[in-house]
């Protein structure tokens, strides 16, 4: 079933990871029935070193998902479980409101 962000209180889940897994990550997100997200190409630094974004191996993406509060934590955990062992990955969650 497809769920979109409904009006009212929500959570913004921001996932920063390697561009290489974009397709796999989106498949994982969609498998949870979430079909709203926004992707930006980014660069940065974290526990797995600097990712300069200048070529394939160093490219990062940021996927922002606004979803119902009850699903945010589940989404973050599922993504962490699947991708944190093998890939540069950082997730943070903010409170949001969909007007």
């Amino acid at each position: 079933m497809v769920m979109t962000a409904e009006e009212g209180p929500a959570k913004l889940v921001s996932i920063v990871t390697e561009a290489a897994v974009e397709t796999l990550l989106l498949r994982e997100i969609e498998a949870m029935g979430i079909d709203g997200y926004t992707i930006a190409d980014v660069r940065g630094r974290g526990t797995r070193g600097r990712r300069s974004g200048s070529w394939d191996a160093s490219a990062s993406i940021r996927v922002d998902v606004v979803c119902a509060p009850v699903r945010a934590e589940a989404l973050a955990l599922r993504v962490k479980e699947r991708f944190a062992p093998g890939y540069a990955l950082f997730i943070f969650i903010c409170d949001a409101w969909v007007p």
Binding site: E18, A20, V21, L24, D41, G49, S52, G53, S54, W55, D56, A57, A59, P85, G86, Y87
Partner: protein, 316 residues
């Protein structure tokens, strides 16, 4: 004899990187540049394929495939035994060295053209052929034959990766269109080739400079491996070339391919299929050591080696 300017662009990139200049190719420009290189090499191979019966090349294709497998299987125990790398890391690095670097190939071809040394025009075909077997063997070494299910996805990642689609796609386009057909797209894909290669090497220099630090941290083994393995590869490649009866130029190119380590197709495939393997190891070695080693010292050395080998063969 003067130095080929494309090498100088690599040196410029390394220098700018070490000087901490903010120079860098924007990501989309890097993509455009590598797209043109991959398509161009594919097209050249395809045009040659159109010229001669594909069947005649089958034995050579088979030999090159076996070479890729052998190189991977040679590198793996070295990395596992001497280097004490984990199984997945050893497999990943080995696969990079069994596979081939398109940029190194392009530099070697430019080196020969610059010196007016002829070579078999179907050599780019071998670049395409050599990309794949090492990656598959590497994944097998890393994962074993167990998890059946993932194989479909793995093959998809290897064969539908960007670089593979461009190389194979270019090959097929060149094959179908033939020499006459590609005339109209020559100005972009053939005439600009060396200039585009210069921009590519500038960026490679910047990236290589960035990997120097990582390399020092990972100890000296990879530094040595990154220079010894190309030499092993070059010897194997030269022998295979002799066996196939290639010309002097062809021998230099096959030796260089064998000596080179992938940094486009292999990293992309391993990142997706064997994420446990640390890309820092394989990339720092292939880009930070083997690539500069090959383009600056290796290619002239393999040229010298090929001359000796051809002479010795003539004597027998």
């Amino acid at each position: 004899m003067a130095i080929d300017p494309v090498i100088l662009f690599f040196v410029l990139g390394v220098a700018a990187g070490l000087m901490r200049s903010e120079l860098r190719l924007p990501a989309p420009v890097y993509e455009l540049v590598s797209m043109i290189l991959l398509l161009s090499i594919g097209l050249k191979g395809g045009v040659e394929l159109a010229r001669q019966p594909a069947l005649d090349l089958m034995p050579q294709i088979a030999a090159v495939t076996v070479m890729g497998i052998v190189l991977t299987l040679l590198a793996f125990p070295l990395l596992r035994g001497l280097g004490r790398f984990s199984r997945v890391d050893a497999a990943a690095i080995a696969a990079h060295y069994g596979s081939v670097s398109v940029g190194t190939f392009a530099v070697a071809a430019a080196y020969l053209t610059y010196r007016q040394i002829g070579f078999e025009q179907h050599m780019p075909l071998f670049v395409v052929v050599l990309e794949i077997p090492a990656i598959i063997i590497g994944v097998l070494l890393a994962k074993g034959l167990g998890r059946q299910q993932a194989w479909g996805r793995m093959l998809h990642e290897v064969l539908c990766g960007k670089s593979m689609v461009l190389l194979v796609g270019g090959l097929l386009v060149g094959w179908v269109a033939g020499e006459d057909g590609v005339q109209s797209i020559k100005p972009l894909f053939f005439d600009l080739f060396k200039g585009v290669l210069a921009l590519f090497l500038l960026e490679m220099g910047l990236i290589a400079a960035g990997h120097v630090g990582g390399l020092l941290r990972q100890g000296l083994f990879l530094l040595g491996f990154g220079m010894a393995m190309p030499l092993i590869g070059a010897v194997v490649g030269t022998m295979v070339a002799l066996g196939l009866g290639l010309s002097l130029g062809g021998t230099v190119l096959l030796a260089t391919m064998a000596a080179s380590a992938s940094y486009i197709a292999a990293p992309a495939a391993f990142r997706l299929v064997v994420p446990e393997a640390k890309p820092a190891f394989s990339l720092a070695t292939s880009l930070g050591v083997t690539f500069p080693f090959n383009i600056v010292l290796g290619i002239p050395l393999y040229h010298w080696m090929a001359e000796r080998a051809q002479m010795m063969k003539g004597v027998w």
